[in-house]
């Protein structure tokens, strides 16, 4: 199977390790991975801040770049939700505003083919044991757009439970937002920081070494709060855990 990796602009720029982990993991599972170099951003930051019309060219660009692929895999619940939930809405609005169906048609082509990583592993490849080894105490934070937007359910948890050596511990208040929220973190930084601090304290109370999530944007906020609060905990993307093996363990 040949899939396109939609890495997201945040991962590409700030978290290349996550991308390398996805490539390693999928290749190990027999999937041929492409990284279309023309990809940029899904437009979520624009859309969610109120710049819907500014987001449209980015969505169209996304469909141009990824349209030809059989499947598009992204290690980000929130960018995945942008494509799956909000692209149809963008297309419908353009049509309702009398601007024709071309945007809607272009976006509709990529929507059903776009999968968040854990969804792709469990639903498309049908695996929960990916042969990973990660001897650490880990707590899992289900990010809002993965949890409520895409409905990832227990897929990430099942994947983590099958990892050799990994001890999964329950995160109190797991379903609560970490407070990132894109531009919310800047526009309402006080509330955002208070939410982040509570999330980190909850994570600390588990005694876990690692807080894991399927979205680097949330991990950027949580991780930045962790180091500021000097917790000694580390934020790690789930892809890096799943890619880790006994032969090549992740740090």
């Amino acid at each position: 199977m040949r899939v396109a990796l939609f890495l997201t602009c945040v991962n590409d720029t700030l978290y290349p390790d996550t991308g390398r982990a996805v490539v390693k993991l999928l290749t190990r599972l027999g999937v041929e991975v492409d990284f279309p170099m023309a990809q940029t951003c899904c437009g979520q930051a624009h859309y969610n801040t109120g710049y819907r019309r500014e987001a449209e060219p980015l969505a169209r660009h996304f469909s141009d770049v990824f349209g030809e692929y059989e499947a598009i895999v992204t290690p980000s619940g929130s960018c995945g939700a942008m494509v799956r939930e909000l692209y149809p809405r963008m297309g419908a609005r353009a049509r309702a505003e009398g601007r024709g169906s071309t945007l809607a048609t272009a976006l509709a082509a990529v929507v059903p083919k776009t999968y968040e990583l854990t969804e792709f592993l469990v639903d498309v490849l049908g695996v929960t044991d990916v042969g990973a080894y990660y001897p650490h105490r880990v707590t899992y934070h289900p990010t809002c757009h993965g949890l409520r937007g895409l409905g990832l359910g227990d897929r990430p948890r099942r994947l983590l439970e099958a990892v050799k050596g990994l001890e999964l511990v329950e995160l109190p208040g797991a379903d609560e937002c970490c407070g990132f929220g894109g531009t919310f973190a800047l526009k309402n930084s006080d509330v955002s920081a208070a939410m982040g601090a509570d999330k980190v304290r909850n994570a600390e109370s588990t005694g876990a070494e690692v807080l894991c999530a399927a979205d680097n944007s949330c991990l950027m906020h949580i991780g930045g709060t962790m180091t500021r609060l000097r917790t000694g905990m580390r934020p790690v993307h789930i892809a890096e855990i799943l890619a880790s093996t006994e032969e090549e363990p992740a740090l």
Binding site: D12, D17, A38, R89, M195
Partner: protein
Amino acid sequence: MSGTFVGMPAFPAAAHEAVRNPTLRGNLRHATHTIRAKREKAVAEVSDWAQLREAGRRIKDHTLRHLDRYLVQLEESVTAAGGTVHWAVDADEANRIVADLVKATGESEVVKVKSMATQEIGLNEALEAEGIRAYETDLAELIVQLCEDRPSHILVPAIHRNRGEIRDIFVREMGEWGRPAPEGLTDTPAELAEAARLHLREKFLRAKVGISGANFMVAETGTLVVVESEGNGRMCLTLPETLISVVGIEKIVPAWRDLEVFLQTLPRSSTAERMNPYTSMWTGTADEDGPQNFHLVLIDNGRTDTLADEVGRQALRCIRCSACLNVCPVYERAGGHAYGSVYPGPIGAILSPQLRGTASEIDASLPYASSLCGACYEVCPVAIDIPEVLVHLRERVVAGGQVTRNGNKVLLKPAKGHAAERAAMRAARWAFAHPGALRGGQRLASRTRRFHPRTLPGPGRAWSGSRDLPPVPSEPFRDWWQRTHGGKDGAK
């Protein structure tokens, strides 16, 4: 990034204070978490919750679509049952109607059932200006009124107060308003409730005029419904000679049978009860029983304009259960006052900017008072997609667009203070439309990474004031890919 990212006015400024008040945060956290857990249990008990939620959504949407017809039907039913219907286009008109009705009775005091509609229009203050004193009789509303505070929650207006604070308020203020608090009052819930009961009973037995809102109005029968927990509402609805009900026009349900859905979903969503302790229903007047004069004041106050907005109109489905407040992580930290409206929390963040417009600083800031986590949508018993409306209203704030104001279509200009942000968004869009430019930026960031500050100056402080920045990697992913995979699309 631009100055406006942090230069946001009202909500962030108000939340800034709340976040730093440990008592307030403790009170809010305790109350919202308790009710959140209870609600989850109460909802899980119902096997057809998803269907009830969908039915509620449909009934409300149907009613809103045919609101003109149902309003006329309601007026006919109420009139036939011996009541009088008054129409108020805005808060001023509604207040004037109510004040005139009270004055016509010759009375100078009224007892009130807790009502969001009368708070929305500022009725108590308007009556005060006419020499009429309105006594709130809901326990939490009484607490708020006694200390001249403002409600902080739709259902639990005094949620931000703890027992100790309430005891002090009773001891200090009750005497000023009527029967004083008993000697040696402690902060046990039973004693506090008894003190309120004694204080209020005096008013119930004396008052000749009662003022209420309504949770529902049944178009086919002209029946109004109040759902409450304490029984104080029922006292107000049955003892006075004159009853004046002030209700928003969206509160209609077409038929009696529709109540079946909401009388299940409302209590479970709001107080986590299977059924609320008191459901009072009244239809016009009845000889020798209950109020002999009944007036229904129907208020628009921005609702028809809201109805004209295809995305935003779903806010009018709201049955004021406040489940969205109790799950909202932003409400939990910021408290109700930060929303600058009688409708706080997620529903307030979409209702207020629609009812009042987005011209003021606070109203323009409300659509941003959310991290779009979606918990509010998940718990809403009438399935209002609050995140969708928030983003829709953000677009209205930054890009303007066509809205309906006082029945006329007007073209809104973008709100002030977003010019720099807009420029940043456009620049980002340009870079993202040109992968080469994006790549250049990434490389520049990587090459200069040793010189990146740990904390950011200026507007960037909004991030780095409380969080560290992630280190920029030595090589962005796309460079690694090109180095190791040849960088040709499709080629491995």
